[in-house]
Subunit: 333 residues, 2 copies
């Protein structure tokens, strides 16, 4: 009998279709090929092929030159424009504003051949540090209400360049799904006087069946009501609403946890395309008692899309208890 | 300058990225091949290869035999089970219930070679009649709260069999996106004492720029804040909350409008994969003043998915005024 499960934050019901439970090998379709060395705007020596950098970790100095370990540049084809005023206005019953925002690319390594799963903990820690530093810089701009940090890995997940990179979009609005999380978490908080994510951490630690791994500071788990097979969440154990306010020790743990999670996914699902998204509190609201930052990693394993897009109704063929077990038993730390 | 536009029903902001506006030819990737005649469980003579029919329009009589024009059968691999009680229960802080529901397939024609765009108006009218008849039958089962009617056309849109068919899923819950529409429309109604969709119909008719076509009873348009390029909505002009309560004249108009819309999309976008979804009111609530049934048609033209799934934030490269013009100027009625 399939099971309907309710996401405790957003209230979304999903079908966990246990009758046609799928093993990892049922999904493998389009492994992301290893990056092939070739002329690439993100490699050393091609720094002039991108817009001028807004941040670089480079021991030796000299902007827009080789020698960096992480480099952040404006997207050459930005979805939003950085200059101008929002100019909110109506058009009859409708509302619009100028598409003001920042769209940046975080080049995670100078090495064209590395995926994030293959980097060292130290390298990933630098990437996460660049995430934090860019958010802390951009939040000074009061036009922005939210910053989305995300990674598309593999063409099927939306990547157009293979050199390992993440992206950042600063927005004058809070995206819908984030708003749903915030609103749902607020309702829960008002009812229970506890953070729903903190409650999830307690219940998952005690149940154990959906836990993938654990560090001093973080829990990696498969959520109770996942929309997608092998959907993975990484949460800080200590209550914190904003990613950019986390401390160095947590970032260090997170680098290890990201690498560990991506290596397990790569091994168990044979290098699938994936997306990860950092979910954090809105920029102009500090230290929210009801919200808890986290990272969602979503391997792209299924094709169906329009129906889910259209209805918000998801049928997931893999129970999270199964996917957690596959990842735990991958043989990797 | 790109534009941020707010969907007046759900409140979702989308980026209409006018700077990189795309013409239809920029999207064409994977035209759906015409169905190839082959052994198929939906063709005449193979009626025993599906579960026994729950409905068929067959002048001559004789269940599960050839001679039908539209045939509805339970899905052989249903996402939900029809037998049993919901058995709602908790698991610690979480909620679950049995995956009770109906999952049916509407075989739209005995002719394996036809797509819906190539059928006659009369044939499509019969399909829509089968939609209506099945909903009116299933709504007698009080375990069900909502019925989703939808079509996946082409492998990339999730179709696994090429013989033209739609699907129906009856659910004990209202899917999230539908609930968002209902809630947003209710907020608008409480504020304005008017249906938001009726207001959209008035404004769009007057503006004209996003209208694709019009019949006595229906308006076909590109919405103000579409998530996807060429997203198309079909709405009845007269206020009605439930698809299954519409009258014969509207269904007749709708058959023509569906055929017209799909033919235009096929011509302008060269036979893209697509989904359509009937959005209608919840089963146990009749004649809602704030909700208005409609059909959403979504051609599958873009690959990016995980980021949108993760954030609910959409970047649409084609302004709806442009896509409406392309469809209007297709040279087809």
């Amino acid at each position: 009998m399939p099971e309907l499960r309710k996401d405790p934050i957003t209230g979304r019901w999903v079908v966990i279709s246990t009758d046609r439970a799928r093993r990892p090998s049922d999904f493998i379709r389009q492994p992301v090929p290893p990056p092939a060395a070739r002329l690439c705007p993100f490699c050393y020596g091609n720094e002039q092929k991108t817009p001028p950098e807004v941040l670089a970790y480079r021991p030796g100095g000299g902007a827009n030159q080789p020698g960096w370990s992480v480099r952040v540049v404006p997207n050459k084809f930005p979805a939003l424009g950085i200059e101008g005023e929002l100019n909110r206005q109506g058009e009859g019953m409708y509302d619009k504003m100028n598409g003001i925002g920042a769209h940046e690319v975080i080049i995670e390594t100078p090495d064209h051949s590395l995926t994030m799963a293959e980097m060292t903990d130290r390298q990933i820690e630098e990437v996460l540090g660049a995430f934090r530093d860019r958010v802390n810089d951009l939040k000074k701009d009061t036009r922005f209400r939210y910053i989305v940090l995300f990674k598309n890995h593999g063409e099927a997940a939306g990547a157009t360049l293979e050199h390992s990179h993440s992206q950042l979009i600063a927005l004058p609005v809070v995206p819908k799904r984030v708003k749903e999380e915030l609103d749902g978490a607020k309702v829960y908080f008002d009812f229970k006087e506890r953070c729903v994510y903190c409650d999830i951490l307690r219940q998952e630690t005690s149940a154990g069946v959906r836990v993938v791994t654990e560090t001093d500071r973080l829990l990696v788990l498969q959520p109770w009501a996942p929309r997608f097979p092998f959907e993975t969440w990484i949460l800080p154990k200590r209550h914190e609403s904003h990613f950019e306010q986390t401390d160095a020790a947590t970032l260090q743990n997170l680098a290890w946890a990201m690498r560990s999670t991506l290596r397990k996914i790569d091994k168990v699902l044979e290098h699938p395309p994936f997306n990860f998204i950092v979910h954090s509190g809105p920029l102009q609201e500090n230290h929210l008692a009801h919200y808890h930052w986290h990272i969602e990693v979503i391997p792209k394993l299924t094709k169906v899309a329009g129906f889910e897009w259209g209805t918000g109704f998801y049928i997931n063929p893999t129970p999270p208890e199964e996917s957690a077990r596959f990842l735990r038993e991958s043989g990797l730390a």
